[in-house]
Protein backbone atom coordinates (compact mmCIF):
# COMPACT_ATOMS: atom_id res chain seq x y z
CA UNK A 1 0.00 0.00 0.00
CA UNK A 2 2.97 2.27 0.48
CA UNK A 3 3.45 2.64 -3.25
CA UNK A 4 -0.04 3.93 -3.66
CA UNK A 5 1.10 7.40 -2.74
CA UNK A 6 3.57 7.73 -5.55
CA UNK A 7 1.07 6.58 -8.14
CA UNK A 8 -1.76 8.68 -6.92
CA UNK A 9 -0.32 12.15 -6.44
CA UNK A 10 -1.22 13.70 -9.75
CA UNK A 11 -2.52 12.80 -13.11
CA UNK A 12 -1.10 13.77 -16.47
CA UNK A 13 -4.15 15.91 -16.97
CA UNK A 14 -3.37 17.99 -13.93
CA UNK A 15 0.24 18.36 -15.06
CA UNK A 16 -0.90 19.60 -18.43
CA UNK A 17 -3.43 22.00 -17.00
CA UNK A 18 -1.09 23.36 -14.39
CA UNK A 19 2.15 23.75 -16.30
CA UNK A 20 1.64 23.87 -20.04
CA UNK A 21 0.95 26.98 -22.04
CA UNK A 22 -2.21 25.87 -23.73
CA UNK A 23 -1.90 28.32 -26.59
CA UNK A 24 1.47 26.86 -27.60
CA UNK A 25 0.32 23.25 -27.80
CA UNK A 26 0.69 20.91 -29.62
CA UNK A 27 4.45 21.30 -29.59
CA UNK A 28 6.66 21.51 -32.66
CA UNK A 29 8.75 18.41 -31.99
CA UNK A 30 8.81 15.74 -34.68
CA UNK A 31 6.95 12.50 -34.55
CA UNK A 32 8.79 10.08 -32.28
CA UNK A 33 11.12 12.70 -30.84
CA UNK A 34 11.90 12.31 -27.15
CA UNK A 35 11.86 16.00 -26.31
CA UNK A 36 8.20 15.92 -25.39
CA UNK A 37 9.03 13.21 -22.89
CA UNK A 38 11.85 15.25 -21.40
CA UNK A 39 9.42 18.14 -20.93
CA UNK A 40 6.87 15.78 -19.39
CA UNK A 41 9.38 14.25 -16.98
CA UNK A 42 10.68 17.65 -15.93
CA UNK A 43 7.14 18.78 -15.16
CA UNK A 44 6.45 15.65 -13.12
CA UNK A 45 9.62 16.22 -11.15
CA UNK A 46 8.71 19.85 -10.59
CA UNK A 47 5.22 18.89 -9.43
CA UNK A 48 6.55 16.26 -7.07
CA UNK A 49 9.10 18.70 -5.68
CA UNK A 50 6.41 21.32 -5.31
CA UNK A 51 8.41 24.13 -6.89
CA UNK A 52 6.79 27.55 -6.85
CA UNK A 53 6.35 28.38 -10.52
CA UNK A 54 6.31 32.08 -9.75
CA UNK A 55 9.87 31.69 -8.54
CA UNK A 56 11.15 29.34 -11.21
CA UNK A 57 12.94 30.47 -14.35
CA UNK A 58 13.63 28.27 -17.35
CA UNK A 59 16.47 29.05 -19.68
CA UNK A 60 17.57 27.60 -22.97
CA UNK A 61 19.85 28.31 -25.87
CA UNK A 62 19.15 27.43 -29.47
CA UNK A 63 18.15 24.10 -30.94
CA UNK A 64 15.26 21.68 -30.67
CA UNK A 65 15.69 21.16 -26.95
CA UNK A 66 15.78 24.89 -26.39
CA UNK A 67 12.19 25.24 -27.49
CA UNK A 68 11.06 23.35 -24.39
CA UNK A 69 10.69 26.36 -22.02
CA UNK A 70 8.23 27.91 -24.48
CA UNK A 71 5.65 25.33 -23.48
CA UNK A 72 5.95 25.86 -19.75
CA UNK A 73 3.82 28.45 -18.03
CA UNK A 74 6.65 30.24 -16.23
CA UNK A 75 9.30 32.90 -16.69
CA UNK A 76 11.64 31.81 -19.44
CA UNK A 77 14.63 33.14 -21.31
CA UNK A 78 15.19 31.63 -24.74
CA UNK A 79 18.66 32.91 -25.44
CA UNK A 80 21.40 32.71 -28.04
CA UNK A 81 23.10 29.55 -29.23
CA UNK A 82 25.16 27.92 -26.49
CA UNK A 83 24.94 30.81 -24.06
CA UNK A 84 22.06 29.68 -21.87
CA UNK A 85 24.35 28.85 -18.96
CA UNK A 86 26.00 32.26 -19.11
CA UNK A 87 22.56 33.89 -18.97
CA UNK A 88 21.62 31.50 -16.16
CA UNK A 89 24.68 32.62 -14.20
CA UNK A 90 23.41 36.17 -14.38
CA UNK A 91 19.88 35.22 -13.37
CA UNK A 92 20.93 33.05 -10.43
CA UNK A 93 23.59 35.40 -9.12
CA UNK A 94 21.35 38.44 -9.36
CA UNK A 95 18.46 36.69 -7.63
CA UNK A 96 19.51 33.54 -5.72
CA UNK A 97 15.90 33.01 -4.58
CA UNK A 98 14.89 31.87 -8.05
CA UNK A 99 14.95 28.20 -9.04
CA UNK A 100 16.87 28.06 -12.28
CA UNK A 101 16.40 25.20 -14.72
CA UNK A 102 18.27 25.09 -18.01
CA UNK A 103 17.30 23.02 -21.02
CA UNK A 104 20.05 22.49 -23.49
CA UNK A 105 21.11 20.09 -26.20
CA UNK A 106 24.28 18.32 -27.16
CA UNK A 107 25.29 20.85 -29.81
CA UNK A 108 24.21 23.79 -27.68
CA UNK A 109 25.94 22.55 -24.55
CA UNK A 110 29.00 20.69 -25.82
CA UNK A 111 29.59 22.39 -29.15
CA UNK A 112 29.12 26.14 -29.22
CA UNK A 113 28.52 26.37 -25.48
CA UNK A 114 31.32 24.07 -24.32
CA UNK A 115 33.27 26.80 -22.61
CA UNK A 116 30.25 28.25 -20.84
CA UNK A 117 29.34 24.75 -19.76
CA UNK A 118 32.61 23.81 -18.08
CA UNK A 119 32.80 27.18 -16.37
CA UNK A 120 29.24 27.08 -15.09
CA UNK A 121 29.98 23.61 -13.72
CA UNK A 122 33.24 24.76 -12.19
CA UNK A 123 31.50 27.61 -10.38
CA UNK A 124 28.97 25.16 -8.96
CA UNK A 125 25.98 27.39 -9.37
CA UNK A 126 22.83 26.00 -7.80
CA UNK A 127 21.07 25.27 -11.06
CA UNK A 128 19.66 22.18 -12.72
CA UNK A 129 20.69 21.48 -16.27
CA UNK A 130 18.73 19.04 -18.37
CA UNK A 131 20.82 18.33 -21.43
CA UNK A 132 19.10 16.45 -24.20
CA UNK A 133 21.57 14.38 -26.16
CA UNK A 134 20.31 13.21 -29.53
CA UNK A 135 23.70 12.85 -31.23
CA UNK A 136 22.88 15.37 -33.91
CA UNK A 137 22.11 18.98 -34.78
CA UNK A 138 18.42 18.43 -35.30
CA UNK A 139 17.01 21.89 -35.88
CA UNK A 140 19.48 22.76 -38.62
CA UNK A 141 18.76 19.54 -40.44
CA UNK A 142 21.06 16.82 -39.15
CA UNK A 143 24.66 17.98 -39.08
CA UNK A 144 27.33 16.09 -37.18
CA UNK A 145 27.48 17.00 -33.48
CA UNK A 146 30.28 16.83 -30.91
CA UNK A 147 28.47 13.81 -29.50
CA UNK A 148 27.80 11.90 -32.73
CA UNK A 149 29.35 8.44 -32.30
CA UNK A 150 32.21 7.50 -34.58
CA UNK A 151 31.13 6.08 -37.90
CA UNK A 152 27.62 7.45 -37.68
CA UNK A 153 26.15 9.45 -40.50
CA UNK A 154 25.05 13.06 -40.63
CA UNK A 155 24.61 15.57 -43.42
CA UNK A 156 28.09 16.95 -42.77
CA UNK A 157 29.59 13.52 -42.26
CA UNK A 158 28.13 11.74 -45.28
CA UNK A 159 30.87 9.09 -45.20
CA UNK A 160 30.62 8.48 -41.48
CA UNK A 161 31.85 10.56 -38.58
CA UNK A 162 35.63 10.29 -38.16
CA UNK A 163 35.83 12.37 -34.98
CA UNK A 164 35.72 10.84 -31.51
CA UNK A 165 32.69 12.12 -29.58
CA UNK A 166 32.37 13.87 -26.24
CA UNK A 167 30.82 12.09 -23.29
CA UNK A 168 28.68 14.82 -21.75
CA UNK A 169 28.21 13.28 -18.32
CA UNK A 170 31.90 12.48 -17.94
CA UNK A 171 32.66 16.03 -18.92
CA UNK A 172 30.28 17.40 -16.30
CA UNK A 173 31.75 15.14 -13.64
CA UNK A 174 35.31 16.04 -14.55
CA UNK A 175 34.51 19.75 -14.41
CA UNK A 176 33.10 19.33 -10.90
CA UNK A 177 29.34 18.93 -11.14
CA UNK A 178 27.79 17.87 -7.85
CA UNK A 179 25.08 15.71 -9.35
CA UNK A 180 25.44 13.82 -12.64
CA UNK A 181 22.98 11.35 -14.13
CA UNK A 182 22.15 10.00 -17.54
CA UNK A 183 18.88 8.38 -18.54
CA UNK A 184 17.25 7.44 -21.80
CA UNK A 185 13.77 8.82 -22.43
CA UNK A 186 12.16 5.40 -22.63
CA UNK A 187 12.53 5.02 -18.88
CA UNK A 188 10.12 7.57 -17.34
CA UNK A 189 10.53 7.09 -13.62
CA UNK A 190 14.30 7.16 -13.30
CA UNK A 191 14.75 10.55 -14.99
CA UNK A 192 11.86 11.99 -13.01
CA UNK A 193 13.62 10.92 -9.83
CA UNK A 194 16.94 12.20 -11.09
CA UNK A 195 15.51 15.59 -11.98
CA UNK A 196 13.96 15.69 -8.51
CA UNK A 197 17.32 14.91 -6.97
CA UNK A 198 18.86 17.54 -9.17
CA UNK A 199 16.37 20.12 -7.97
CA UNK A 200 17.03 19.19 -4.35
CA UNK A 201 20.79 19.36 -4.80
CA UNK A 202 22.23 22.73 -3.80
CA UNK A 203 24.76 22.86 -6.56
CA UNK A 204 25.24 22.22 -10.24
CA UNK A 205 23.08 19.27 -11.25
CA UNK A 206 23.48 17.75 -14.66
CA UNK A 207 20.97 15.33 -16.08
CA UNK A 208 21.76 14.02 -19.53
CA UNK A 209 18.75 12.66 -21.39
CA UNK A 210 19.35 10.31 -24.28
CA UNK A 211 16.63 11.24 -26.68
CA UNK A 212 16.03 9.74 -30.11
CA UNK A 213 16.01 12.10 -33.07
CA UNK A 214 14.00 10.24 -35.63
CA UNK A 215 14.02 12.86 -38.35
CA UNK A 216 17.64 13.93 -38.56
CA UNK A 217 19.54 11.09 -36.91
CA UNK A 218 17.46 7.94 -37.15
CA UNK A 219 16.76 7.95 -40.81
CA UNK A 220 20.41 8.45 -41.77
CA UNK A 221 21.59 5.70 -39.45
CA UNK A 222 19.45 2.73 -40.45
CA UNK A 223 16.68 3.44 -37.98
CA UNK A 224 13.99 4.43 -40.39
CA UNK A 225 11.15 3.49 -38.09
CA UNK A 226 10.51 5.18 -34.77
CA UNK A 227 10.27 1.90 -32.90
CA UNK A 228 13.62 0.75 -34.35
CA UNK A 229 15.38 3.79 -33.01
CA UNK A 230 13.74 3.56 -29.60
CA UNK A 231 14.58 -0.14 -29.48
CA UNK A 232 18.16 0.65 -30.42
CA UNK A 233 18.44 2.92 -27.40
CA UNK A 234 17.05 0.15 -25.25
CA UNK A 235 19.62 -2.32 -26.56
CA UNK A 236 22.55 0.07 -26.32
CA UNK A 237 22.06 1.27 -22.78
CA UNK A 238 23.19 -0.53 -19.67
CA UNK A 239 22.89 0.45 -16.03
CA UNK A 240 26.15 1.75 -14.66
CA UNK A 241 26.01 -0.75 -11.79
CA UNK A 242 25.53 -3.65 -14.19
CA UNK A 243 28.30 -2.35 -16.37
CA UNK A 244 30.71 -2.31 -13.46
CA UNK A 245 29.71 -5.78 -12.35
CA UNK A 246 30.28 -7.22 -15.80
CA UNK A 247 33.58 -5.43 -16.06
CA UNK A 248 34.68 -7.06 -12.83
CA UNK A 249 33.16 -10.50 -13.02
CA UNK A 250 31.93 -10.98 -16.59
CA UNK A 251 33.30 -13.39 -19.17
CA UNK A 252 35.60 -12.11 -21.87
CA UNK A 253 32.77 -12.09 -24.37
CA UNK A 254 30.50 -10.20 -22.04
CA UNK A 255 33.18 -7.67 -21.40
CA UNK A 256 33.82 -7.29 -25.10
CA UNK A 257 30.15 -6.54 -25.64
CA UNK A 258 30.38 -3.69 -23.15
CA UNK A 259 32.38 -1.60 -25.59
CA UNK A 260 29.30 -0.69 -27.58
CA UNK A 261 27.17 0.04 -24.56
CA UNK A 262 26.19 3.38 -23.12
CA UNK A 263 26.17 3.58 -19.35
CA UNK A 264 23.07 5.00 -17.73
CA UNK A 265 22.30 5.80 -14.15
CA UNK A 266 23.36 8.25 -11.50
CA UNK A 267 27.11 8.73 -11.84
CA UNK A 268 27.98 11.21 -9.19
CA UNK A 269 26.67 12.82 -6.01
CA UNK A 270 28.61 15.31 -3.97
CA UNK A 271 28.00 18.17 -1.58
CA UNK A 272 29.85 21.39 -2.23
CA UNK A 273 29.12 25.00 -1.48
CA UNK A 274 27.40 26.71 -4.35
CA UNK A 275 28.69 29.93 -5.84
CA UNK A 276 25.83 32.09 -4.65
CA UNK A 277 26.26 30.68 -1.15
CA UNK A 278 29.94 31.65 -1.22
CA UNK A 279 29.02 35.07 -2.53
CA UNK A 280 26.48 35.63 0.24
CA UNK A 281 29.15 34.72 2.77
CA UNK A 282 31.51 37.22 1.17
CA UNK A 283 28.85 39.92 1.40
CA UNK A 284 28.30 39.10 5.06
CA UNK A 285 32.03 39.36 5.69
CA UNK A 286 32.20 42.77 4.07
CA UNK A 287 29.30 44.19 6.06
Amino acid sequence: MKEKKSVNIVSGKKIQEKYLRDEMMPHIFCNGCGLGNVLDYALWAIEKEGLDMDKTVFLSGIGCSSRIPGYIHADALHTTHGRALAFATGVKMANPDLNVIVFTGDGDCMGIGGNHFIHAVRRNLDITVIAVNNYIYGMTGGQVAPTTPEGHFATTSPYGNIEPPFNMSDMAKAAGATYVARWPVFKPHQPINSIREGLQNKGFSFIEMLSPCTTAYGRRNKFRRIEDLWAHYEEKTILAEDHDQIEKFGTQEERKALKDKIKIGVFHRETKKSLEQRYQELLEELK
Partner: protein
Protein backbone atom coordinates in the same frame (compact mmCIF):
# COMPACT_ATOMS: atom_id res chain seq x y z
CA UNK B 1 -9.63 5.18 -18.48
CA UNK B 2 -7.26 6.20 -21.24
CA UNK B 3 -8.17 9.51 -22.77
CA UNK B 4 -6.59 10.31 -26.12
CA UNK B 5 -6.33 13.86 -27.36
CA UNK B 6 -6.57 13.02 -31.02
CA UNK B 7 -5.46 16.44 -32.22
CA UNK B 8 -2.14 16.20 -30.38
CA UNK B 9 -1.32 12.68 -31.59
CA UNK B 10 1.40 12.48 -34.22
CA UNK B 11 1.07 8.75 -34.68
CA UNK B 12 4.35 7.44 -33.30
CA UNK B 13 2.57 4.40 -31.83
CA UNK B 14 4.95 4.33 -28.88
CA UNK B 15 2.04 3.98 -26.49
CA UNK B 16 0.90 0.84 -28.24
CA UNK B 17 4.46 -0.48 -28.25
CA UNK B 18 5.13 0.24 -24.60
CA UNK B 19 1.83 -0.82 -23.04
CA UNK B 20 2.55 -3.85 -20.86
CA UNK B 21 -1.05 -4.98 -21.09
CA UNK B 22 -1.58 -4.39 -24.83
CA UNK B 23 -4.46 -2.16 -23.93
CA UNK B 24 -4.11 0.18 -26.90
CA UNK B 25 -4.45 -0.22 -30.61
CA UNK B 26 -4.57 2.02 -33.68
CA UNK B 27 -8.03 3.42 -34.23
CA UNK B 28 -9.88 3.66 -37.50
CA UNK B 29 -10.21 7.44 -37.36
CA UNK B 30 -7.82 9.81 -39.07
CA UNK B 31 -6.90 13.05 -37.35
CA UNK B 32 -5.82 16.34 -38.94
CA UNK B 33 -2.24 15.18 -39.12
CA UNK B 34 -3.31 12.17 -41.14
CA UNK B 35 -2.52 9.53 -38.54
CA UNK B 36 -4.57 7.02 -36.65
CA UNK B 37 -4.57 7.94 -32.96
CA UNK B 38 -4.61 5.04 -30.51
CA UNK B 39 -7.77 3.76 -28.92
CA UNK B 40 -8.23 1.81 -25.72
CA UNK B 41 -9.15 -1.84 -25.82
CA UNK B 42 -11.76 -2.40 -23.14
CA UNK B 43 -10.92 -3.84 -19.74
CA UNK B 44 -7.21 -4.25 -20.23
CA UNK B 45 -5.76 -1.07 -18.76
CA UNK B 46 -4.46 -1.31 -15.22
CA UNK B 47 -3.69 2.38 -14.86
CA UNK B 48 0.09 2.14 -14.85
CA UNK B 49 0.39 5.46 -16.72
CA UNK B 50 3.26 4.26 -18.87
CA UNK B 51 1.49 5.35 -22.06
CA UNK B 52 0.80 8.74 -20.56
CA UNK B 53 4.45 9.20 -19.63
CA UNK B 54 5.88 7.70 -22.79
CA UNK B 55 3.67 9.72 -25.14
CA UNK B 56 5.98 12.50 -26.38
CA UNK B 57 3.05 14.63 -27.47
CA UNK B 58 0.94 14.97 -24.31
CA UNK B 59 -1.82 13.24 -26.23
CA UNK B 60 -2.65 10.61 -23.62
CA UNK B 61 -4.11 11.11 -20.21
CA UNK B 62 -4.90 8.22 -17.90
CA UNK B 63 -7.85 9.11 -15.75
CA UNK B 64 -7.84 8.72 -12.02
CA UNK B 65 -8.58 5.33 -10.65
CA UNK B 66 -12.07 4.01 -10.54
CA UNK B 67 -13.26 4.44 -6.97
CA UNK B 68 -15.60 1.51 -7.23
CA UNK B 69 -12.71 -0.93 -7.12
CA UNK B 70 -12.08 -2.79 -3.92
CA UNK B 71 -9.06 -1.98 -1.83
CA UNK B 72 -7.50 -5.24 -2.78
CA UNK B 73 -7.83 -4.51 -6.45
CA UNK B 74 -6.45 -1.03 -5.97
CA UNK B 75 -3.32 -2.22 -4.27
CA UNK B 76 -2.84 -4.74 -7.02
CA UNK B 77 -3.05 -2.01 -9.59
CA UNK B 78 -0.55 0.16 -7.90
CA UNK B 79 2.10 -2.44 -7.66
CA UNK B 80 2.43 -2.95 -11.39
Amino acid sequence: MIEVNEEYCKGCNLCILFCPRDALEESETLNKKGVHPPIEIDDRCNGCRLCELICPDFAIVVEEEDKKLTKKQQSKKCCV
